[in-house]
Every structure is written in C-alpha cells, then in structure tokens.
C-alpha cells in the first residue's frame, strides 16, 4: 500500500483536470460531457491552460507538492496530442510536480493509435485508464459504447507497446440482460490482459440519463423490493418489455465473484470497487478517501482545498468568457462551502471506510484532537454488534474497517456516521 497516507497532508496536493468532450454520450453516463467541434475544443484547451497558470499562483497552492495528476472527462483521449502536451506543460511549469508523480489519463478504446499513445508517454502521462465496461458486444451496444470487445483488446496492446506500464481497466456489473456467466467472461477478458489495476462498478441508474428514462422505475422497484418476484405485478407491468436488470441476489453474486476471481489472479481489493496488484493502487483516488487536498481545474471540476469544497462552473459559455484576472480571484467557482469540523469528521469516516483497510482512530485523534470513540462510540459499538464493522491491531496501529457483510450494505453503515 502506498505510503501516501504517511506524508504530511498539508504539503501534498492532487490535481484533477476535466476534459468535457465526448464523441458520443453513453446511455448511463451522467458526467459533465458533450460532443464539441474542434473550434470549441481549442478554445477550451486555451482557457484551461490559462486557469492552470493562474491557479498555480494562488497562495493556497504555493509551496505545495503535486503528487498526482488526473485527466478525466468526458473523453480526455479525444484531445489532439499537441493539446494534451500543452496542458501537461502548463501543469509542470505552474506547479511543483513530484518527479515520481502519478499522472493518469482516461482513454476510450478505439479512440487512439500507437502514435498518439507514444505522445502521451512523452508528455508525461504514466498511467492509462481504459473503459472496457463489458467484453460482450451486445452489452456494449446497449450501453451506447462506441467500441467493441475486440477494439478494446487492440487499444490495450497499443498502450502497452507505447510503454504504459501502469494501466487500469474499468468494468461494469448489474447491466440489463447481464448474467453471472456473461460477467465472468468480462472479468476473464480483463484479467487476461493483466492490467495493474481494475475498477469494477455496479451500474448506477442516474437521473437525467437515457437509462433512467427506461430503467429508472425498474431500478427503484428493485431497490425497494429486492427481487422481481417481490414486486407487485401492477408495478412490473410498466417495464415488462425491457431487458431485466439483475435482481439483488444476482447483483451480489457478481460482486462477490469479482472479488474471488480477481484475488485468485493477484488483484487485491483495496476499496469498495477498486482492485490492484500489490503496490499498484491508484494514488490519486486514495487521496480522495483520505481527505487529501485536491484542486480541480476545468469545467465542473471539484476541489477540496484548505478546508473548503468548491467547484468550477458547469457552464461552458461562462467558462470560456473568464479572464486570467477572474481565475486569479477564483471567479470560476460556485457552490463554495467551508467544511465545519463536524463535516470533516463525517468525511473522515464515510470516505475513509470505503478503503478496505478502513480508518485509524489514532489518526482521527491527531487530526481532530479528540478520540473517535468520544464522537462515534455508540455507532461503532452497534455496528460491531451487527457484525458490520471490525477492529484489527491495537494502540496506534488499531484500525476499524467494514467487514464483508458490512461492505454489502456500506451505505447503511456510512450513514450512521453523519452526526
């Protein structure tokens, strides 16, 4: 496990850069992304570079070391090589970036060739995240993905050949019409490629997406009743023509299968949905769960900096009109809220417990000046009695973490830590 946790928190900064462009929006996606012309893209990149330059001058970021950079989207791989280079150059010159910093970019299979991949390496990207989602072409089509299983394999190899030694593959379970068998095939496909890291997510039906239009009602009913047999017929009639989403038991099965299968192949689960070969965990994301400061740049990007959370405007129109002066004074930000101590404690728990290793009471005490027991004693006791939380180690090294059954109902557990 990376020793990021041991570093002085106030020193480290993570950077997140958002590239809100996609060729095509997948039916389940509720991220901030849309198709855009080359012109808009150029304008955006120019603006983003401006923002990077100005933010680098902010007092909150001066003197900080950037340990991780993450280019997310949308489809960051859509950018032209030159654009990607320009962005990373700006980062390098405006911030003090560690030599061994983890620099990740998300890429869509079938969206790049060897040449582009080599350019990325040259620009400094040392970790590539590819969205496979499913190895089954029929499922991919249903998801609205623009690649095929084969297209994915090709891209993966291209990336390896270009010199990417740290790769992640994204997978999805609980898809409409998916069975445990078809999911196993997806797992096999991914594991066979031997990426360093695998993220496996249960499909979430998000409001505002095309999936929600069709599957929203089915999902709500499944959530309420668990299995199809439990749903009253009158309700089921509303979506009887749709391919069914897996019921609760099947969902759980896929979920448990993931862990067992990947463990056998050398992947350790280190967070609810994330698996990695030893030492290959995603440092950037671990930062989120540890409460490390991060600065978000680009449209809609979120930040946690010096005790407050804020995000960049989601309006492209507004963003493109901002000036360097605006960026310097933070006018790109909306929804700023200063976290109270209570809120920071809550986050310590409901984010920290997402990591399989859980949270450390000694660290809590150091951060907040009081014991975890004094704040959460009752909740902790009850959850341990219910078999959802467990303890390991003692003294300084004591840790509290979600048990297997606890992980299955992590939302229920995490909600208990809201004061």
């Amino acid at each position: 496990m990376s020793d990021l946790v041991k570093r002085n928190e106030t020193e480290i900064l993570e950077l997140y850069l958002h590239i809100p462009f996609c060729v095509w929006k997948c039916s389940y996606c509720d991220f901030l992304s849309f198709p855009a012309s080359g012109e808009i893209r150029h304008a955006y990149v120019d603006k983003l570079v401006q923002e990077i330059r100005e933010c680098g001058k902010r007092p909150e970021t001066a003197g900080r070391t950037v340990a991780t950079v993450f280019l997310g989207g949308g489809t960051p791989s859509l950018l032209e090589s030159e654009e990607t280079e320009r962005i990373l150059d700006a980062v390098g010159t405006s911030f003090s970036v560690e030599k061994e910093a983890e620099i990740t970019m998300e890429a869509n299979p079938g969206a790049f060739d060897g040449k582009k991949a080599r350019h990325w390496r040259k620009a400094g990207i040392n970790r590539l995240s590819l969205g496979l989602q499913s190895a089954c072409d029929a499922e991919l089509e249903r998801l609205g993905r623009i690649h095929t299983g084969r297209g994915f394999l090709e891209s993966f190899h291209l990336a390896r050949e270009a010199g990417f030694e740290n790769m992640n593959v994204d997978l999805m379970s609980a898809l409409p019409g998916q069975t445990t068998e078809s999911f196993l095939r997806t797992l096999e496909c991914a594991a066979e490629l031997s990426p360093e890291h695998i993220s496996a997510y249960s499909l979430i039906i998000e409001e505002g997406t095309p999936f929600y239009e069709s599957y929203g009602a089915m999902e709500a009913d499944l959530e309420r009743f668990g299995e199809y047999e439990e749903i009253p017929l009158a309700r089921r009639a509303r979506y009887k023509d749709l391919l069914p989403l897996p019921g609760e038991e099947a969902d759980r099965e896929m979920y448990h299968l993931t862990k067992a299968y990947l463990r056998e192949r050398g992947y350790e689960r280190y967070e609810i949905s994330n698996y990695a070969k030893p030492g290959r965990e995603c440092r950037h994301n671990i930062g989120y769960w540890n409460g490390t400061d991060y600065l978000g740049l680009g449209l809609g990007a979120s930040s946690l900096l010096a005790g407050s959370r804020f995000s960049v405007t989601r309006s492209l129109e507004t963003y493109l009109k901002l000036t360097p002066e605006d960026f310097r004074t933070g006018r790109q930000y909306i929804e700023t809220s200063i976290l109270s101590e209570k809120e920071r404690m809550e986050e310590f728990m409901f984010l920290g417990l997402r990591l399989i290793r859980g949270v450390c009471p000694a660290e809590f005490a150091e951060r907040f000046g009081c014991s975890m027991e004094s704040v959460y004693g009752q909740a902790l006791l009850k959850l341990r009695e219910e078999g959802l939380l467990a303890l390991s180690g003692e003294g300084e090294r004591e840790r509290i973490f979600l048990t297997e059954p606890g992980l299955d109902v992590s939302n229920y557990v995490l909600a208990k830590f809201l004061l």
């Binding site: 979920y255 989120y288 979120s302 959370r309 992590s410």
Partner: protein, 604 residues
C-alpha cells in the same frame, strides 16, 4: 342603536349543499345591505379562518347583522346566521337553525338537489322554519332552473315557482332575495318583559373577554349586569357586555331583547360552561322551562394522538387544552401505548373534525404527531353484567369476560346518478349495509337509504363513494343507535412483537380481509432492514395473515470520487432525514404515517 321594533327583525340562515353558493350569497347580502361596500369585502368574508378557506367550508358558525331598506321604504334588521356545512357538525347546525325563524334554501341550478341539501332542509322543516328556495348559478350554461324548481317541489314539497333565479357571483337578482326575506321570513315573536330565555347557538373563546356567547333571545331582555345562569350546565355569571355582529367584528349595545340575535360576554373562562343548545336565563328571575333540543355532544370517532418526540408531550397537552378552549366538542384524555409511549385518546365528531384538529396541531402548534387509526365507540357487555364504552381497542377485556358487543349504526342517505346505483349498492353491501329503500329524484338521480355500521364508513367510505361514482355521489348520515355484532380485536405483530397502537376492532367476518390488507400495506410502508421482518395479523392469538419484508442484501454506492463527494453527502443526509419520521418499535423502524395509512383500504 334605537329601540328595536320586533316586527322589523328577520332571523334567518342559508342552507345549501357544499359549493352551491351559500357563502357567496351571504357575501352579496352583506354587501347589498349597507354594512360594507363591495371594495371592502374580502371574498367570502364569513369564512374567517385560513383552514376554512382552504377547504372551502365553514367550520365555525358566525353571524352577521345588517340593515336593509326594503322597497316598502322601511328598514329591516337582517340577522344572517351562518351554519357549518358538514355532516360531522349536525348538532351545531340544528342549534343554529333553532336560532332562526326562517331559512333560505340555495340550490345550484346546474347540480340540483344533493343529499346534504335534503338533510338540512328536513332539519329546518323539523324546526318549523319557513324555508324559501333560491336557484343559484343561473349564469352557468348548464343551469336548468325549470328542472331544479320542479325537483324542489317534488322532492321537498315546497313551492319553487317564485324562487328567485340568481347568480350570487355576479349579484344578478339578489335584490329579489332580499325582498323575499322581508316577505317570507316571519318576524320573531317573544315577550321582552318575560323572564329571560335565550338559546346559545355558538361560542368563541377570547383571551380578554372570555367566552363570547352567541345567542338568540326568545323571551326577556339581557344587558350589562344581568345575573345569568346556564340551565343545563348550571354555570352562573354576570353579564359584562352584550352586542351584535358586524361582519367580523363585535359591536356592543345597550341590551338585547326578545327576537334579537347577538352575543354576550360574562368573563366566563370555560367554554364548557356555555354549551351549544343550552338556555340562558336570569337566575334571579328564571324562566320556567329551558328551550328544547339541548343535547350533550358526544364524539363519534376516537384516535390516539402521540407526539413523535416523547419530550414534546407537555407541548401536545398544552396545545390540546388551547384548542379545547374554543371547541367544546373536542375530547381528550391521557393514555399510554407500549409502542408509542405517552399520548392522548381524543374524541371527535367525525373524521373531518379529526383532520382539522390534527392539522391545527401540526401547523399552529408546530407539533409532529403520530396518529393511530381512528375507531368508533363500542359497547362491551361483560359476563359480570358490566357495560364498558370502549374507545381504545387495546383496552378490550379478555374474550372470556365478554358476553356480547355492540357497535354504533347510522342511517345514511346517498344521492347518486342512476348509472352508478348498482356500484354504490355493491359498496354499501360490502360495508355491511342494510338496504332501507330508494327513490328516484328524476330519471337521472336516485336517493338510496341504507343503515350502515359507523366503523365501516368513517375511513374511506366517502372516497370509495366518490371513486365508484366518478365523483357524482354525495352522502349524509345520522347516528341511529347501537346494534349487537360479532366483533373481534385484530392485532398486528411486527417482527413478532405486538404493536398495540395498530390494534383495532373489526367485524369478525371481515377480519381476514382486513388483516391481509393491513399486512400488505405495512409491507409497503416499512423500509427494508438488515434482517427479514415478518408482519402478521392475529385474532385471539391466532395468526390469520402474514407478509414479509425481505432483508436488505445490498446497499452500496459503487463510485465515490472527488466530484461525487458533495452529492454523496446529500444522499446520506437524506437517508438520515428519512429516519426522523420513523418510530422505533423494538428493532424495527416504522414510518409515522404508517400508523394511520394502514386504514386506507379501498385502493381501486
């Protein structure tokens, strides 16, 4: 105010079915008789409570005195006495009628006669009031004044040929109504020098003046200083002030004498000293007999009211006490429930009354309440000869001690369009109704008469009636008496623990169906827990129905990265909020509203 000529007084009320235009007409009369100008009128000025405005009904009766200069050149004093319009408040209606000498019957010329119209007209006729009809809303394209006039003559038996055809909304022809009030409503009789005899037909509690008593003086005179006595309650006091009603104001005057309508105050602190229907007399020169018709008000429907937060119990008690100041028909007494803790058993005139009190408690007193399912008063005859009036099902004695039980029965009149007669008859049969008779009002409408157990109609009978008749049915009922019945107590067990607050008394043959439906409803209401929850209905310890709330097996948020954290927090907070409206019963969290909603049975 100068000495009043009794022959120039007209005491009357307006009777009508809901929405037929009673309040609008009242407004027009007030407007046109020189008390307020049109501009000063707030629409429907007599409905002066917000709640009333929302529901469009008059709850608290209030009266207005206006002055009309008639075509004959004389000035007449009109005392318009407003009456509540809902079946729950029949007694109040009857006492308001007793304060009048005549009544205007307003009928919607498009809708025609409805069940409630009839009920109130019969009530008026029973009080020997002269009733003259008025056809309203003739401006509507669907108005059929000829047909409705004929209906009135045929069904009620009063002359309707000369009925003024008006639009209360526009004021069209209302002048004619005013003239007819002068001509057709008789002047009051009564001797101002005889011993005081005044009818209390309503009251209002004011923190400064104490109870403001609305009365109609039948005989004698009352003024400041008169030593009065309420003949039924025995309360005594000395009159501080008398006066009459402006619109929304009390206007003091020297005295009120026979034939007049007004108010009196006497620093009376307790609204129960001045019960509606009682007779006020001069205790130093009392009248021989009280006025007839006084009845002790009895609640028909009881429920349990519990504060969601136990610490708020004193606040609930205070609030109920305050509400009771102005509402002599609200009953309450403390009770405890194993499931819900400390609360009150409350008695109401009916479900509407219950709704209103509940809403006021929540809105005006800011109380979060758990309400248990409302039930009627049963008579339990024990084997030892004792008879108990049962208001709380949990107090039902052991079956071995019970000889037999009785339940309250009402006689109901239901008006429905002929195409739905069958559907409504089926509904009444389902509710153990006994068919009494039917008459056709005209080819398109029928009046059905049924005897029904009160406990079959207090919950959702009205809603079922409306939905099965596409909104066209109306009904009115009156308590007839008690009848022996095979009744049992239905208990509900959640996670194998009996929840006393969910118990209720049901007709034996309906127990299975009710039990099954209640279990189904609870299954929908109770959220999934980490363990399976059996929900069972039982009678006498024997399980008769069962549902299961499956254990929650997966509840995970797959992704939580930088941009998701604020949203995740909101989600978790929402979950926490949701828990606030829950009641912990053993290991199970039951939503507060579940306690009442289990009785919504007629899901069509």
């Amino acid at each position: 105010m100068a000495i009043v000529d009794q022959s120039k007084i007209r005491n009357f009320c307006i009777i009508a079915h809901i929405d037929h235009g009673k309040s609008t007409l009242a407004d027009r009369i007030i407007e046109m008789t020189g008390l307020l100008t049109s501009r000063e009128m707030q629409s429907q000025v007599l409905d002066n409570m917000d709640l009333e405005r929302e529901r469009g009904i008059t709850i608290k009766a209030q009266s207005v005195r206006t002055v009309y200069k008639a075509k004959d050149g004389e000035e007449y004093i009109f005392n318009l006495i407003d009456t509540p319009g809902h079946v729950d408040f029949n007694y109040e209606v009857s006492r308001s009628l007793a304060a009048c000498d005549g009544a205007i019957l307003v009928v919607d010329a498009a809708q025609g006669i409805e069940a409630q119209t009839l009920a109130n007209v019969y009530l008026a006729l029973d009080h020997d009031l002269d009733v003259f009809p008025v056809l309203n809303k003739i401006d509507l394209p669907s108005a059929e004044p000829e047909r409705v006039a004929a209906e009135i003559e045929d069904v009620i038996g009063i002359e309707a040929a000369d009925a003024p055809r008006i639009s209360a909304k526009t004021g069209l022809n209302v002048e004619e109504v005013l003239e007819q009030i002068v001509e057709r409503i008789p002047a009051p009789k009564g001797d101002p020098d005889a011993p005081l005899q005044a009818l209390i037909f309503d009251s209002l509690y004011d923190s400064y003046k104490g109870v403001i008593v609305f009365c109609r003086i039948k005989n004698g005179t009352i003024k400041k200083g008169t030593p009065v006595k309420m003949m039924a309650t025995g309360a005594t006091a000395d009159v501080v002030e008398v006066g009459y009603f402006g619109a929304g104001q009390f206007i003091p005057c020297e005295s009120l004498s026979a034939g007049m309508v007004g108010y009196m105050t006497a620093s009376i602190k307790n609204v129960r000293d001045t019960m509606v229907g009682d007779t006020i007399t001069n205790r130093e020169n009392p009248c021989a007999e009280p006025l007839p018709g006084y009845k002790k008000v009895t609640p028909m429907v009881y429920c349990g009211l519990y504060p969601a937060d136990g610490a708020k119990y004193p606040d609930l008690r205070d609030a109920l006490e305050k509400l009771q100041l102005n509402d002599a028909s609200l009953f309450f007494e403390p009770e405890t429930s194993i499931a819900l803790g400390f609360g009150f058993r409350c008695g109401f005139l009916g479900l509407l009354h219950l709704d209103i009190i509940e809403e006021r408690l929540e809105r005006e007193y800011n109380l979060d309440l758990v309400t248990t399912a409302p039930g009627v008063v049963y008579r339990v005859h024990k084997t030892n000869g004792e008879m108990i009036e049962l208001t709380n099902p949990s107090n039902l004695p052991d079956p071995s001690e019970i000889d037999y039980m009785e339940e309250p029965i009402v006689s109901a009149e239901i008006m429905v369009t002929t195409e739905f007669v069958g559907a409504i008859m089926t509904l009444c049969q389902e509710r153990r109704g006994v068919y009494l008779g039917m008459e056709y009002i005209e080819t398109s409408r029928a009046l059905l008469r049924y005897e029904l157990p009160l406990n079959e109609i207090i919950y959702d009978f009205f809603d079922a009636l409306k939905s099965r008749s596409r909104g066209y049915a109306s009904f009115d009922y009156e308590l007839k008496g008690y009848q022996q019945s095979k009744l049992v107590k239905l208990d509900i067990l959640v996670n194998r623990e009996e929840v006393d607050a969910l118990s209720f008394i049901v007709f034996e043959d309906s127990a299975y169906e009710r039990g099954r439906k209640m279990c189904e409803k609870l299954k929908e209401e109770i959220p999934r827990h980490l363990f399976e929850i059996p929900i069972q209905a039982a009678v006498g310890g024997k399980i008769i129905a069962r549902e299961t709330v499956k254990a929650m097996r997966k509840d995970v948020l797959a992704k939580c990265y930088g941009g998701d954290i604020s949203r995740k927090r909101k989600l978790l907070e929402k979950q926490k909020e949701g828990k606030k409206r829950m009641r912990q019963i053993g290991n199970v969290e039951i939503p507060q509203k579940a306690f009442m909603s289990v009785l919504k049975l007629d899901e069509e």
